[in-house]
Amino acid sequence: MPAILLTTLVAPLAFLITDWFTQTDKSALFAFLNRTTLLLIGKSLLMAGLSAFFATLAGGLCSFFLHKLSFKWNRFYKIALVMPLLISPYIFAVAWNGGLHLVLGNDASIFSSAGVVLVHSLVFLPLAFIIIGSALSQINATYEEAGLMLVSFKKMLVRIILPLVKPAILISFLLVMIFSLSDFSVPAYFGVQTFTTEIFTQFSALYNFPLAIGQSVLLLTICFAIMFSEAKYLSDSPFFTISLKGNTSKKYSINRGKGFLHLWFWFLLFISLVLPVVLLTIQSSAGNWLIIKKAWQLLEPTFGYSLGLAFTGTVIITLSALWIAYTARVYNSKLPNSLMMIIFVVPSTVSGISLIRFYNHPSLAFVYGSFLIILLAYLGRFGFIASRIIANGLKQIPESLMEAALLAGASPVKIFFSITIPLLIPSLLATFILSFILCWGELGVVIMVYPPGAELMNIKTFTISANAPLALTSTMTLLNLCITCLLIAMFLLTGRVLFKKYSYAFY
């Protein structure tokens, strides 16, 4: 597996960096290392840090309310809070701009660094909610009950619950920070200069590849340093699983403050879900019913190919992630995980260019000219997150189960298929759904490498949106959203069947 990853995904990147290092004039090689760049990096890190802080804080609070307190509509809020993950950050930015103008008659305030932080905090809140929520739901009730026998609820919260979910909080913070740092669309739309928009400008306005690649290497180093600290100090801490094994998580009833909780969730849902969807609907309804027909006519030819690719990509990602996580656990092989991490932190434009430069060779035309290049792009972009979800699922499986099976004479293969896989189903399902959402919406790399003539739903929505009527593009976005929700519902239903079939593994 490491050899496959090295040759298919790491080699293109190494090839690009070597090319940059050897071909660029040595005096210009590190020309990007100046005061302006360092200040810009500082500003970008500050903005990403603030976004990560607010997203983690709000996501953490939501997780606590929804996973530890029992009140009405709890399940509805849990599902609704994750929905904004299906909306791209760019749509958020446009919606907020429109929303502010509609309400205040002025949107100037959003066109600022604060606006970028606000939108990023909202966009990445669901990620923090999922990560911290799953950690909270894993806390064994006996710890809390023992604590409550000795100290007050508040003290138990600070001394027991908080330390137990600290790794999840830190990982949420770091992942959101990386995502915020590498996002281009929102700062570009708000006209805020960040290090990522600077790289984009060098690539796309000045066509200065050596400088852009040099800056990307610097960004890559920063992101890698952040993720390396996560891998070194936190990778052994469970942070992301939906497993129910041994779950005796305690929930608390509340008598007061229910109104406040509903108000809090409806406020969050309004700004992160209702507002974008309502604005898209208003814009969409400016047309007539024929606009829905036209939008569908445009999207329909892309549906099969997009679904096939996203599904295949998701299967490959899930299987690769399972392999990486399993070998890491059984053979203590950390190299594949580190390789996936390196690829994960590469900015999408650099990733696209490295794939083109490496695979655009006559002998590799079967990769570059076909869907394989898209599948590679998917694996590179999302393989790391998937492998971490499964790795944490694996950590939840008690070693004693495998040891007992071994003593009973079961072969490693039998143990893998009869014990490990059934117990991993919740994690595999979570990986599958999250990977599908990410593959379905991926634009940054795919727009640079998709084979000529291929039609993908999100790329078509994006390229059509440039000059088509707003009503049409809004309808296309809404249709895309509805299709995604339907597909996820189907996956969840399939997951439910699997849960039932292997229910012996969970209770």
């Binding site: 949107d107 739309y189 655009n360 079967f366 059509i464």
Partner: protein, 338 residues
């Protein structure tokens, strides 16, 4: 697991080889930065008419054409693309300077006036757009609008107007043309004046259209196709040509530009497509779909499409504007960041 992966790769690799070897050779690969909503119907018609399969990669000016431009540059040593169709000649000029385009001349290319094609035929123009002022009728009237872009520095327009990011697309092209005409010193002074006069920088021309349509701002500088789309969508939007006076700098005219790619894998089909694009038929279609002005004489156009005869075009040499553009980009970047 080792056996399983060998089995999968044993099936998959030959299958992909088979699929790639079975690809239709009667095809042409085109990369375009012209909005898909306008370019796709033209390419489909070519397909129907000639039987040559068109495999297109679309991008948009909205995304600064990052996809196709970076792809073309990265593919230089092993080109996959046959034809590059751009919304303006600037990008073709960049590709020409990097040795990515190849000269092409035919009977059709001779129909285009010398002013609208590269002297060495690395790119050939057809159907043009113009830079216009789009305005919101509820916020201002056509009489109150500036008559020239140079009037943007007038204090009476303070904070009322928008232009797209000057580092990208047709806005860069327009500014490079102004720098060529006025000279660097005067042009920089004008740029600084409009900054002091509160110009709003939009993300793109499409964003200029959205801001004016939504009534967020009174007027903005954009292209004719954006203006026509805005008028289709909203009755509150109007547009005017600027710089029409005899003493003025003239209206910027931006033709589409098509280039043959050096080492194109399907060069014969590429030439057929280029000839099809530079035809009365295509110009007529683009006039209907996005009000572009034909450059070939005798093309029938709808009434709402302006004629080049009624506009006083800016007198520029596209090649020198492309050169100027590369010179001023660093200054524009620092102007934007001020």
């Amino acid at each position: 697991m080792g056996k399983f992966s060998s089995f999968i790769s044993g099936i998959l690799v030959p299958l992909v080889f088979l699929l790639s070897s079975c690809q239709n050779k009667n095809q042409v690969v085109v990369y375009t930065s012209v909005d898909q909503v306008f370019s796709e119907p033209v390419l489909k018609d070519f397909e129907i008419k000639t039987g040559i399969r068109v495999r297109a990669v679309y991008d948009t000016e909205e995304t600064k054409s990052t996809g196709v431009m970076n792809r073309l540059i990265a593919e230089k040593d092993n080109p996959q693309c046959d034809v590059f169709w751009s919304g303006d000649p600037v990008r073709n000029g960049v590709l020409q300077s990097k040795g990515i385009t190849f000269p092409f001349q035919s009977v059709q290319t001779n129909l285009i006036g010398e002013a609208f094609k590269d002297p060495e035929n690395h790119w050939i123009g057809f159907s043009a757009r113009a830079r216009v002022l789009i305005y919101n009728k509820n916020m201002t009237s056509s009489d109150s609008l500036p008559k020239s872009v140079l009037d943007f520095s007038n204090p009476s327009y303070r904070g009322q107007f928008t232009i797209a990011n000057p580092l990208f697309g047709t806005t860069t092209f327009h500014l490079a043309a102004i720098f060529t005409l006025l000279g660097d010193e005067k042009a920089k002074y004008w740029m600084d004046s409009i900054k002091q006069n509160g110009v709003i920088i939009a993300a793109s021309n499409g964003d200029v259209k959205r801001k004016v349509m939504n009534g967020e701002i009174a007027f903005g500088l954009t292209d004719t196709d954006d203006a026509f789309e805005a008028m289709k969508e909203s009755d509150a939007v109007g547009f005017v040509f600027i710089d029409l006076e005899e003493t003025g700098i003239g209206t910027l005219i931006m033709p589409n530009a098509v280039s043959l790619i050096k080492g194109a894998p399907h060069s014969e089909n590429a030439k057929k497509l280029i000839d099809y694009l530079i035809s009365q038929e295509t110009e007529s279609k683009l006039a209907v779909s996005c009000a572009q002005m034909p450059l070939i004489a005798g093309v029938k156009v709808p009434e709402n499409v302006p004629s080049l005869e009624n506009i006083r075009p800016m007198k520029i040499d596209y090649k020198s504007v492309s050169g100027k553009l590369e010179d001023i980009q660093p200054w524009l970047k620092s102007w934007l960041e001020k």
